[in-house]
Subunit: 396 residues, 2 copies
């Protein structure tokens, strides 16, 4: 069912819509102050937005003296869909126009099943959310995938861990399926956007979001905008070399960060440690489950297992070594650590911090917070709805 | 002698001034097309610029059919001063409003003499250029220094190789001395701007300029604008760690890139090679001069000396290792290599290229040129005049 969502006619209307998204219902008087339009000019723009149905009246505002001002808000029926496809997981959420999550579904699913199977899964989860009453239809959808994306046309390009996805027209296909505008981006970029919209990076204009999941990637925000690089591969830090001539990596090179840390490397090293008799706790878990994940390492570490703690510290040191270089280069105002392996907690964070604070110059680290993601598993879906709402709330 | 240079009254006028700077004299008709103003509105703005004296008539344009169009150009009397202070050199140049270099002076001078002595030298060189007829006075000056700068107030901050400069009010002091607006920036940022204005990076919006001089630094251009980082230290890649627990660096850390390459490291290693009997050519030069510089290494390498070639290759490999990481992270459209050590030529460039093309993912390197600076020793001064002209040609 296609819904024809109206679009703002000009930049003033776009700013009004984004203000209402970010700050909730507002009086016309307050809006006028923030958009820097005269009362009469603002009234014209707001009236036009009321005609489109994007904005609706919301009662009288508290008096600031003088004539009473009317509140307006974004239409309560507006719905955005946020989709976060990870290497081994799919998250789907529905938000209202203020990007409040009204429903969220998460599933384990392997991205290597290919785009057709993954999007059947996504559409089923979206249908489930619709049936649960979270939405009737969607006014826009943002989709994150775990690989580089040619952003303007929303097509994955040469994604190393996504066989079958190279060149798949995700934006076009999903726009047709969902009957609404769709934008597609790298998953880490969307996590950075989510953290900027509703998490720990609010009001920070230049920051890095480092995702440590199955692989390791980085979202780069410059001047409040996601920086994607000239071919959409910016932030691909998992294949920065940390040991010249080191371990083989899935990318075909040697010594990449991902060959040493991330979910895949940690599973491998934990199993090797268990097999070599280095950790009774890990050996017990391996015997019980036949495989080890980062959750097993986290549990063993929490129980005081020295070998598990060492694995986390070594991985944090390698990751911190790379982040230290990025901090020297980029001089960010904040570094956010997110992704599945943040379950490893403060041991991981402490190792990263000690590398960065020890290696980068004091001028770059003096006021630099390095913190865990605030939104955690919803950073990606919130960022996805932020991305598409920026698009829908832009002049055509 | 203070000259009160007029400033544009609005954004339209600013765009006209920058167009005339970048493209030279233009007909009103062509300007109208590019500024996207109607003929009548453009005429108003151009007439106001003519009144200020920033713009002057320049005869009739070639006919495009219809009424003849008049050419206008920037006032031929406008003069910008570009100053590039390196670790061991000072360059001063005068340009016209189109940023054509009318006069250029270069001197060896040690930045460690401190700001007062260095600026006496700069002012003497500027006076010399005035006496030679390049300028009567200046409408603006841009100044580059070899360390981090708090850009808004033009003050060097904790610059590692500039004792006595920390907190010195360069912008304010030089503005008073020169009687014109002054902006101060890190020298590498200005080289990047110069290369963007008149060199190999024209029309490239996202690129890196890597300067290999006494030290090693990087200018970062994002969306056509210099990115300086939150405390002005972005691009400080000389202190990225390349060997964990490696050689001591002047910054107090271990294993930094600058501990292995750059003018200082190369002089040290060349002298050690000569002393150890590894190179007759370097030993002869050391005996003759008492010291070795990168020029000696370049000369020995050009004469086929194997040890000199090895020193260059090793340094290029270390530098390339760092640049490979930056390319994975930043996914630029171009990497420019500049600074004094580009005299080492294609042996250096080849080593850097082989590291980057070998280590970074194909998606980031597929269409990535890695080239030598086109402007060479004038990149910094041209960039300095570009910086200040952007400021002078902005609405107040």
């Amino acid at each position: 069912m296609r819904r024809m969502t109206a679009r703002p006619a000009n930049g003033h209307q776009a700013r009004v819509l984004r203000l209402l998204r970010d700050a909730g219902p507002q009086s016309r008087a307050v809006l006028g102050d923030q958009v820097e339009l005269s009362r009469s000019k603002l009234a014209v723009e707001v009236d036009r937005l009321l005609e489109t149905g994007l904005v609706v009246p919301d009662g009288l505002a508290a008096s600031r003296g003088g004539r009473p001002s009317h509140n307006v808000r974004l239409a309560p029926s507006l719905r955005f869909l946020g989709v976060d496809i990870g290497a081994t997981s799919v998250d789907v959420a529905v938000t209202n126009a203020e990007l409040e999550v009204l429903g969220h579904r998460a599933a384990r699913y392997d991205v290597r099943e290919g785009p057709v199977a993954v999007f059947e899964q996504v559409l089923a989860m979206a249908a489930d959310l619709r049936e649960a009453g979270a939405a009737e239809s969607f006014d826009g959808a943002g989709i994150g995938v775990p690989g580089p994306v040619r952003f303007p046309d929303g097509v994955p390009v040469a994604p190393p861990i996504m066989p079958g996805w190279d060149g798949f027209p995700v934006r076009e296909a999903m726009s047709q399926e969902l009957g609404c505008p769709v934008l597609v981006d790298n998953d880490v970029n969307l996590m950075a956007l989510g953290e900027q919209h509703a998490g720990v990076a609010r009001s920070v204009r230049d920051f890095l979001f480092v995702k440590i999941g199955t692989g390791i990637g980085c979202g780069i925000v410059v001047g409040g905008q996601v920086y994607r690089g000239v071919t959409g591969s910016a932030g691909d830090i998992g294949h920065i070399q940390v040991v010249p001539g080191g371990l083989s990596c899935a990318c075909g090179n040697h010594g990449c960060l991902e060959a040493y840390f991330g979910g895949s490397a940690l599973s491998r090293d934990a199993a090797a440690t268990a097999a070599a008799g280095g950790s009774a706790a890990l050996a017990d878990r391996l015997a019980a489950a036949g495989t080890l994940t980062s959750a097993d390492v986290a549990a063993a570490a929490a129980a005081g297992d020295g070998a598990a703690l060492d694995l986390i510290r070594q991985g944090g040191n390698r990751t911190g070594q790379v982040i230290a270089g990025l901090v020297s280069f980029f001089n960010p105002g904040l570094v956010v650590i997110g992704g599945g392996l943040t379950g490893l907690g403060h041991t991981l964070l402490a190792s990263i911090r000690s590398q960065v604070y020890g290696q980068s110059l004091p001028l770059a680290t003096g006021n630099l917070p390095i913190v865990l993601s605030e939104l955690g598993p919803t950073a990606g879906v919130v960022g996805a709805t932020r991305l598409i709402s920026d698009h829908v709330f832009s002049p055509v």
